[in-house]
Structures are given as C-alpha cells and as structure tokens.
Amino acid sequence: MKQKENMSAQALEVGAGVTSEKRRQVITGTIASGLAMAMPSLVLGQANNPIKIGHLTPRTGFLGPMGEYAVMGATLAVEEINAAGGVNGRKFELISEDSVNPQTASTKAQRMVERDKVNFFVGEISSASGLAIAQVATRAKTLFFQTGCNSDALRGKDCSRYMFHMEANNTMYVRTVGRELMRKKMVKGKRWMAFTADYAFGHDLFEKTKKFMDENGGIFVSNDLIPTDAMEFSPMLLKIRQQKPDLVMSNLAGNSTTNFMKQYNEFKIPIPLAGADLNAVSIWGAGEAGFSGTWPIIWTHQVKAPSAQKFTDTFMKRFGVPADNQGVADYLAIKIIAKAMQATNSDDAEKIIPYLESGVKFDVLRSREGYFRPWDHQLLFEMYTVQPAKGATKWDNFVTSAPIPGPNESLEVLAPSQMENACNFSS
C-alpha cells in the first residue's frame, strides 16, 4: 500500500507512472550484481586460482633416487587434496622441477617466484641447494618447507623465518643412532674411523658426530673426506683393515652410501659399521647381501602406527613400491600446508607462520603427533634405527626399531638446544 502511494507520489512528481517501480528494480538489481562481482573469489570458489606449490628436488646425480620418491610423495598429497575438493575452494597445482645443484636450484627458485608466482616452496634434499632456495624464498617472503636437508646450520646460523624443516637435522640423527650404539657399548673408549662426504652436509654431520664422541668418551682416529662422485672404495676399505678401528662411521650420502655398504660386504670387513644418514632407497639398492650396520632413519614403511600403515597401502597401490622416508616428508609438507591454509583461511605467510609456531600438533604418520619448534621451525617427531634382517624379502631386508624417543620422553631430547645451535630470525 505504502509503495503504491509512494509510487503515485513519485509519479505525480516525476510523471513516469508505473515505470518508476521498474527503474527501482533495475537500480536494485544493478547494485546487487555489482556487490556480487566485488566479493572475494574464495567465496565463489573460482577454479582458475590454484595454489601453486614450487617443488624443487634433485632428479639427477647421486641424490636422484631420493628425488624420485620426493616427487611421488608430493604428487600423492596434491592428488588427495584435490580429490577432496582443494582447500578454501582452491585446488593445488604442483610445479615440480629438477634442482640439479645449488646454482640451478637458485635460478629455478627465482623463476618460480617471478614467472610462476608460486605460493609455497616444498622440497630439496641437498643442504647446499636448500640454502640457495631458502635465500630466494626469504627475499620473496614465500614459505619454504624443506623436506630433505640435514645440516644443522640450516636451522642455526642460516635459519630463516620463512623456512620450516620437515627433515631431521644432523644432531637428531647422531643422537638417535648414538643412543643405540651406546646401548651396544660401542662408544666409550672406542676408536672410530669416519668417511665423510666432501660437501656442506658431510662436514656438518662429521662435526656433530665428533661432538657426540667427545661428549661420550670415544675418539675418531681418522676422518677421510670422500668426493661425492667416488663410487669405488677399495683403497679406503683396505685402509680400514689396516687400521683396525672398533667401528666405521659412514657420513656419506645418496648412491655413495649404497656403494660403500655393498663394497664393505664384498670385502667382508669384520668391523661394525654405522652411519648417521640413510634412506630406504640405499637399503633396497644394497640388497639382501649388501645392507649391514646400524643406522638412524626418520620413517620406514614398517612403522606400525595406523595412519602410517594406511599411507603405505595407498602409496603402494598408487606407485607399486612401498613409501620411504623421503616420500613421507614431501607428502607431509604439502598436507601441513593444506591444514595451515584451512585453519587460517588464507595463503598468507604472515598468518601461517604464527599458526605453525603456536605448537599446533599434526598427524605425522607415526604413533605420536609432531609439532614445529617455534624458535627454529624444526618439526619434532619420533625417529627409528634400522638394522639388517635375515631371510628378507625384496622390500624388507631391514627391521625398524621402536620409536625413539620412547613414549615417556619429550620429543625435544634429540634436537639441538638453543645454546648448541642458535637461530636468529631477525638477522
């Protein structure tokens, strides 16, 4: 009624009659559509605004075999996320490339920032390349979840507010295997020989191993630096027989570890072997006759937690091989990104960093949940040791220990303290 009066009044004033109502409808309609168009795309769920993950990992060279698993893990994570509809209405897009070496990693990371405009960086295995990518990511204020670099320095003097560590650091590895070796009484008063990969990771690892030995009453009688492209170790194996240490410590990486183990057995060195970096790929490569020694590892497909077993089954169905430690790290990195984006309802690094630093717990495919340490962004989780298994099948030529640390200890006992590995985000 009121409308008609108004309209009549308007009609009398303007002289347009019935068309005034239509004009109002048009005006209302225009305003409504304008508002609709201005609303953020998140709400509308546009498909052409994906979350781009810049994935860099070595596909060639001595770390290539692990890179292959990294890509598998990352691919599976993205597929699962997109099958569930994406996050915040956006799908994930994986841009995966071979990082090759530090210089190439840096160039490709830069290109991923400028050309591809990636939202997050994930990956890398070489500590040297990881540092290069971290520098690009920090300048671009883009989060980098590194999944395979072990050096303590990356969490210490080279740390960055924008870098989070999915992989254990050298101190964690050394302490894990160190506990087992101490239990076997192979540390105090014992003479060790070390063979160390001659690059950033190897040097850092030896430093931490030496520190462990100094703290626990053992000594290194020698440390030989081995070039990363060495594949034949007979002179070193002969040296071991000549010097007769109590234990041989392998600080090698990638294919070098596999070859060293195989040839160690070939020469039937009677001295116990241990190491502080191992990938399932190396164990499988060495085969039943080749694998020996005591080694730490962050995860294997033998881990008993229900979520781990489910993941192993899914991975096996998708790729035809069991999941390994590297695949798990890249998988978890992307899954955590998705969770963080969901919880903060954004892709903004400045919102996600405090969320991750808040100690929020994640299912890390082990019996206990993991969380990031706020002051160095190291993910804390259970670790394991592996040793050879007899009468083994193709994938199970090793046996995985119970989780370390045990259920009654804090997950922090393995990681270096602030005094041991200071990290300053503002620098």
Binding site: T60, E68, L225, K394
Partner: protein, 293 residues
C-alpha cells in the same frame, strides 16, 4: 702420518688391480676412437645398457648365460645405431659425431630412467663368486680376481684380433690410408660397423662386470665416461698398449691418492692428464692420426 711399507705395498697392488677396472672401462672407447675416428660420448651409455641388460636377463636365464648374451645384445644395438646414424659422420667434421653421440648418451640415460626409475637396481655378486682371498691385512674378493682375469683375456683377444687376423690388418690399413684400401676392392663399411660393435661390446662387458660393485642406476654411464676419456687421452690416441699402461698408471695413482689424501682421489686423474698433456701432448704412446691433422 705413519707410512708403513707393507700398507703402501698393499695399496700399490690394489692400485694395479684398480687399473684393470679402468682398463675395462677405457678399452672399448679407445678402439672406437683410434680405429673408427669417432668420439663416442655415448660410451658410458652402452656401459649402462650392458649392466641393465644383465640385471634383466639374469633373472630369466641365470648369471652365466646372461653374462655372455648381454654384451652381444648391446653390440646389436650398437650395430643398428652405427648403420642408421653414426656412419653418416665418418667423413665429416669430428664435431658432428661428437654432438650426435652426446645427444645419444642423454637419450639412453633418460630412457633408462623412464623405464627403470632412478633408484639403483639390486644386483649382487653371484653366489659362486663370493668369498675373499685373505693374506694378512690384504683382502681381495674372488669376484675381482675374476674381473681381472676377464680384463686380461679381453686385452689379449683384442690384440690378437688387431694384429694376427686379416680383419685387423684391414682395419689398421684403413686407419692409415682408407683410399688405398678401397682401391684394393675392400669395402670398409662392414669393417667400420664391426669396429664399432666391438667397442660397444667391450663397454657393455665392463658394465656387466661392474654392476654388482658400483650399482646399477641410469647415471652410471656418466660416472665412468670422464675417467674412460682421461685414460684414453693419457695413453694416447691410436695406441693399444698406451691405454693399458695409462689405465694401470691411473689405478695406482688414484689408489695412492685415496690413501694419502682422499679428497683429491677423484681429481688426481685430471692432474695426471694435465701433466702428461703439458709434457707430451700426444699422450704416453700416442701416434699421430692423420685424420685429425
């Protein structure tokens, strides 16, 4: 550092044995280089093909049959490649052959990666060859003695082929003066194919023998290629015995460097090559090859 004479002696002996490992790797390359005039940068790729053929075949027909058949299979692949592609480059600028084989090497490596994956394939020393000879501190696996024996056999047979058969005489004549050989009514085409096949078969044999020791993965070819070239260059182009001596020299030097100063063990090969080339550019026993001058 204490220099124990016994230790030193053992390292030298190991170095000589290591030399045969280098000889196996370099012999095939040397033959194709010296006699065929082709810079075969795909040498490492054929080495890898030999190893992969071994891994695949031994599962079906057992170790020894696979050992014999794998180099033959790879030789056939080599023949195909030579007939269809390599022979177009014989009379051309050497750089073209070089570029082609470089590309071929990458294609084969990536092909292996796509088919088999980047992870090393499990391949162990066969049961009958396991075990070690132990003499004091000196230990040497029986398998490596076997490798040594086969390397020596390969060298002897190749020498006999090159020097005591009509085939060998034609090849050597063809290297010196191809025109003259053709004028005699002898076609060099099948000869070149045979030379290439032989070189490739030797590369594959090296791959078969070294598979259980250095692992089977797609980039295994690239790993040995530089060492093979260094040995051939040190030994000298065109010289058969030059390769043998160079391989032994490289083995001993690498072995000793790995003992005294391990970080330089891989680099020591290049230092030796540098010194030799500065003092005697044609290599230890190289002959001048007219084709390149």
């Amino acid at each position: 550092m204490d220099i124990n004479i016994t230790f030193l002696f053992e390292q030298v002996v190991n170095g000589v044995l290591l030399g045969f490992y280098y000889l196996l790797i370099a012999l095939g390359l040397s033959i194709i280089f010296s006699l065929g005039g082709v810079v075969n940068l795909a040498h490492g790729a054929f080495y890898a093909l030999g190893a992969y053929a071994m891994v695949v075949l031994s599962k079906y027909i057992g170790y020894i049959p696979a050992f014999v058949i794998s180099p033959i299979v790879v030789a056939f692949i080599g023949i195909l490649i030579e007939r269809l592609m390599i022979r177009r480059f014989y009379q051309k600028d050497p750089a073209l052959g070089l570029l082609f084989t470089f590309g071929l090497a990458m294609v084969i490596e990536q092909g292996l990666r796509m088919i088999f994956g980047a992870s090393p394939k499990q391949f162990a020393i066969p049961e009958f060859a396991q075990g070690q000879l132990i003499s004091g501190d000196f230990v040497y696996p029986y398998y490596r003695f076997g490798m040594l024996g086969i390397a020596v056999l390969a060298v002897v047979l190749t020498w006999l082929l090159m020097n005591k058969t009509a085939f060998g005489k034609i090849v050597k004549a063809g290297v010196v003066d191809a025109e003259m050989v053709r004028a005699q009514g002898i076609s060099l085409t099948p000869i070149m194919t045979a030379v290439f096949a032989l070189g490739v078969a030797l590369a594959a044999l090296a791959g078969v023998l070294l598979a259980p020791i250095t692992g089977v993965h797609p980039s295994m070819g690239a790993e040995i290629l530089t060492a093979a070239f260094v040995v051939v260059v040190i030994g000298g182009l065109g010289s058969f015995w030059g390769v043998v001596i160079a391989a032994l020299l490289v083995g001993v030097i690498r072995g000793l460097t790995a003992y005294f100063f391990p970080p330089a063990s891989e680099a020591s090969l290049y230092v030796v090559m540098l010194i030799i080339l500065l003092l005697r550019p044609r290599g230890l026993m190289g002959e001048r090859v007219e084709r390149f001058e």
